[in-house]
Subunit: 365 residues, 2 copies
Amino acid sequence: MSMSHWPPFNFSAGPALLPASVMEQAKEEFCDWHGSGLSVMDFSHRGLDFTSIAEQAEQTLRALLTISDDYHVLFCHGGASLQFSALAMNLLKRKAVYVNTGIWGKKASQEALKYGNVSTIDALQNEQDLSCILPEGSWAIEGDDFDYLHFTPNETIGGIEFDSVPTVGRGKLVADMSSCILSQPINIKDYGLIYAGAQKNIGPAGLAIVIVRKDWLRDDLPSYVPSLLDYRLLAENQSMYNTPPTFAWYLSGLVFNWIKEQGGVATMSDRATARSQALYQCIDNSALYRNPIHPRNRSRMNVPFILQDEALNSEFLKQAETHGLMYLKGHRSVGGMRASLYNAMPMAGVTALVDFMQWFEQTHG
Amino acid sequence: MSMSHWPPFNFSAGPALLPASVMEQAKEEFCDWHGSGLSVMDFSHRGLDFTSIAEQAEQTLRALLTISDDYHVLFCHGGASLQFSALAMNLLKRKAVYVNTGIWGKKASQEALKYGNVSTIDALQNEQDLSCILPEGSWAIEGDDFDYLHFTPNETIGGIEFDSVPTVGRGKLVADMSSCILSQPINIKDYGLIYAGAQKNIGPAGLAIVIVRKDWLRDDLPSYVPSLLDYRLLAENQSMYNTPPTFAWYLSGLVFNWIKEQGGVATMSDRATARSQALYQCIDNSALYRNPIHPRNRSRMNVPFILQDEALNSEFLKQAETHGLMYLKGHRSVGGMRASLYNAMPMAGVTALVDFMQWFEQTHG
């Protein structure tokens, strides 16, 4: 059996693919937005054309995630990593708890250590040679006098996802949703702050969304806080204290519209489940592939898998690319493979990947 | 006499127009870069396709500005305002001198005050009702034991430009070139650090270029410095400590190529002089328009002008837009009009603006 070449499907963990129809629309109006003769990229951010685009994007996001007026929605520069610093600078007064289940949580907590008292909980454990998240009852949290509890609902690199929202700290949760935002409904009231780098489920790299309870903002920040990391200042200026990343903001708005048209985050969640189940089933039915995560914590967004014979890694990647299956190489800290299946990934991409993996196992396994 | 409608020309101070041929190329390959079937926007920043794009952009910029290997070139998130904080965090140990000639310099010095001892020099003065820059001999700088001397070669809002590089502090100058980078040759050795937000002469908003002497980087930064503002860390990671704004980086590379094809920064400089002279001549020959800057410090990039009869402001803007001359409204802190004439502005845009201004004066003046 020989395999056909598919239209390329991009399994990159981020920057990642955007919905095809969004890209087509953005291309169509790239040099001439709505007959203006100008590109959105060239609009003054203070002009009516752009402020309308910006406001509309925020409103659509608020509707998708049912974000009440008790929360600011900020469009920030710089991705989630800059928010590791910003959120701690803005929120950490006495103590913060970081429940870490992977590399990104660890990075977030290390950055927070610069700004105050941080209690970290290593919440990864092994069950029958599978990684999983330590049950909440075993988290050694002393008292509830913490400012916030930080966790990473989905760890992009490890491919490990919380199967439920922690109950401890409800109402003062801080969540890095970079790789899972808009992939399922949330209860906004559980959170004091949600943040996400755009380049996975939202838009292009260079933008981060921050959703923060208004009554969590302070006017007594340490004097070293850069203006651009001061949430109160950003909120007072509608995220335009300086020139925002306008094109990324605009594209995010198109993605929000697309999600709405598709049926909202409930639809995104159903599709994420279907996509990931198809791939995990392929892996579980195989003698060549293996996913190292306990089924209850398997990520629906990022599916790492290793080849039992690691000598086949480079051949797998080479053949995959030949067949139009791109960026399947695992993170350098983990090795193996990783297929990221964000909102914009069509089921056809997963089907093509599964077909390829089965063919590869038959011919090389 | 009635005026024709021009193809829209964008005089926004930033985000600003990019070269038409760059926009056409970016549109052409928006969904399919070089036959890859993928968008640059979707490339993993660690993949060979993107790292080649990134490296090429840096090399072209280095060639355009003759940047030696003694300097790092960093592609940073967040525009120049974030660098106000970052540069002071990284460079300010004992004392810094800020020579301020407008709003941006003032903002930069206020941000630096958070991080150390700052001596500010208000270098604006009035000569015959015209603003100009105080001669260097009158700057009250005590000693030369400062870490760096910060100035703003071109103040975007005021439209005021240094007619020469300061001699005091040569070799340890820090310059905010957001609105004038790549508009004239520089002698890199005069500077310890040059920075620029991209959205005027380089590319889309959300990116800043930082050019910094390698031996200026420190490993003894204060503990509060966010990782993403630590120049040494960024340099060690080739500006990819986290996911960079990949699409903005790519587009900047296209702009660098365009400048090279046009003849380099010397050509850009000649054109900037020709464009701005045409507009200043129109203003000076008019009874209706007035530019408030002394001729020796008139900006070649941003030309503010007021209408002697301010009651005509809104009619001027309305008519200008009708004729395809966009975003001429002055900054809210200054009022009046402002025409920004960056590298990508064709002479035809200036000619159209001059024709319109003459017609408007004849019919409304």
